[in-house]
Symmetry: C3
Subunit: 280 residues, 3 copies
């Protein structure tokens, strides 16, 4: 079933795939340019469910856009999705680039603003009904690094999402990074005693919150990624829709360890995975 799980994109690649854009110089200023296209994509969520997803760059979540605080950001957004979409960013920016205006099918627009402040931000389509446009797959992470980079770590992105297969405003399936249970069938390999830096985002609609839980370990929490020092330590953290954090940890012992929301209904319906801790 690994081939099924890879029909649209590969979650293992997506996990550590950061899009830093293309650097350009204009009028003496550095600009980081990104290209994002909205399309419709058929995604085989499992052996029996094919889902008409709406995607940014043919993947769920969309590309993990990444910049440094103070960079000038330019997103060239093209809508090939068949009807109106947009890209709304979390972060500080003027109203005219807030991404709440529809970009009709076949049109493009440019969102340009300064990347501020550092933290784990996000973007998503903001066309009504937003519940539909988000649960169809139109969301992604936007990481703004602090001026002084964080310490070296094995960095990865985990985005929790929900799928409302039958349009009844409830989710039948859930996933980390697009494919239900992908990281259970294909555990994420990490190394004993190595620092892991998770960028975690909850984009599940209809359920008002989900927790992130890690087995046999605890993580340091950097709320919204907006601090340079952790504020507390735990192994279960509640995240309402659109909340996101940096979570850091390392495993002392080798072996396989699950991670999942501890709302076990959500875990049992696909939002679950495993770390495989290898000896150093």
């Amino acid at each position: 079933d690994a081939s099924t799980a890879n029909n649209l994109f590969n979650p293992m690649h997506l996990l550590r795939d950061f899009d830093y854009g293309t650097l350009k110089q204009e009028n003496g200023r550095t600009i980081r340019e990104f290209k994002v296209t909205a399309t419709n994509s058929l995604i085989e969520l499992n052996n029996v469910v094919s889902f008409n997803a709406w995607t940014f760059n043919n993947r769920i979540p969309g590309p993990t856009l990444r910049a440094k605080q103070g960079d000038r950001i330019r997103i060239i957004f093209e809508n090939k999705g068949g009807h109106s979409h947009s890209m709304h960013f979390h972060g500080i920016h003027p109203a005219n680039v807030d991404g709440v205006r529809p970009v009709t099918n076949g049109k493009s627009t440019i969102y340009e603003f300064d990347a501020e402040p550092y933290g784990v931000q996000l973007y998503h389509c903001h066309i009504e009904p937003v519940t539909r446009h988000i649960s169809k797959g139109l969301y992604g992470m936007f990481i703004i690094d602090p001026p002084q980079p964080r310490p070296p770590a094995d960095e990865m992105v985990l985005v929790m999402g929900g799928y409302d297969i039958n349009d009844d405003d409830r989710n039948e399936l859930y996933a980390f990074n697009g494919y239900p249970e992908y990281y259970s069938r294909n555990p994420i390999r990490i190394y004993q005693n190595q620092l892991v830096r998770l960028y975690v985002l909850n984009m599940i609609e209809f359920d008002v919150a989900a927790t992130f839980h890690l087995h046999a370990n605890f993580f340091q929490v950097y709320p919204t990624g907006m601090t340079l020092k952790p504020t507390h330590e735990t192994d279960v953290i509640t995240m309402g829709t659109a909340q996101r954090h940096i979570l850091e940890f390392s495993y002392k012992y080798t072996g396989k360890y699950m991670f999942h929301p501890h709302q076990d209904f959500i875990a049992e319906h696909g939002c679950i995975g495993e770390f495989e801790v290898l000896p150093q």
Copy 2:
């Protein structure tokens, strides 16, 4: 539809309306006296839905009672609602004024206690079923100011509520300050670079939590309003029923910016609004 939205009260007035009560001197002590009456009120939630609300002082939320820490508080509560109600306050007080005893229709009672500690507190009817008495509209904010006043700011109150129109223990409509989508049709005017101090309270029953999200900005969080310094900064905060905070921010750029729970189902069913940031 502005007239429809104002049939019972005006949310724009309610937003910055603080009830400091009547100051009295008794036995050498200063007393702050408030009058609150429970009644039934027909409220037109939108063009098609008239709702038999239960209200404190003919508004949803009830009056924003406000005092300074250490004041002696006296609430003269009169029940004209047709059946039993009460006023239960959050805060420190003796059991006999905890407001869990029914005040039968046509009767009055007095709740008297010291206002402590400073923070964003609340009150609500505590007659069973509490879900019904709260979702019918019987709740309000109770602000206790610290001994040293907070710095000057444009202060306003936003209370999230839910309406169970068909009595099935789910909400069909939601609102900030009573009327669904009022502040979308009538954006809240604020000024560029001016400090805004939001007193936010979640009184939505049946959904276990809601977030508060602000577009294109971040806010400083004072949890339960019980600190004088913010503890962290974010743009999405999870609030279970009866949670409340002070959130502070200012907008750098002019224009219109949405605010809403990021559980977009709740936003799309009425709990949504806009700030209009005007040049200084």
Copy 3:
């Protein structure tokens, strides 16, 4: 109905019942040994509902296991439940004792690991569907004390649970420590101005979160019990499934005071209780 409420176990006893295990010396090391047995138990949740519970040591929650940081822990787990179960602990431990492997009916296993780090941890069965095995009653608290004991206090355990009586993935009843409304009919006696240290855990499945609210008072929060100093103060705290904290408070005035999740639907369906504050 006190007799009904005591048909399987006595929640008043369970409240302050800490299982420190049996101390053994092996190869110069101190070991703390616990015995836990999974069985099926008929529990009369109220006068009309008998529930086929699955229990650890014939109680819900299971025994409150308690150790000091650094102790060697040995749990001798015996499964007499009629089908597979397990004990999965939160805390740091190797993969082979993570408790995700089924222990078939009639078999035993031993989970042995170092108790680390200090905090309010927990255990629960991790056999699929976990929602079912948890909501049937297979969970308990695991307290790891810090090297320097916390100050003296009246310590007690409150675990929030939900019962899905009709197997529809929703809860019809809820409880603190097993029996719906037990502590409303039998208030918990405490003393005026005495420090109370609550160990609170939310094990409610299907509802993604619940708050803990205390009437007429505020509590100091020690998140996940992993700090020695409180991080903040409030009277309503949101807890996703498997979240747990230490909450400390004392009552200034005598009398009876309710506590309950402020999602009042959950409170009205059994998760509610009272403190009776007696004069010193």
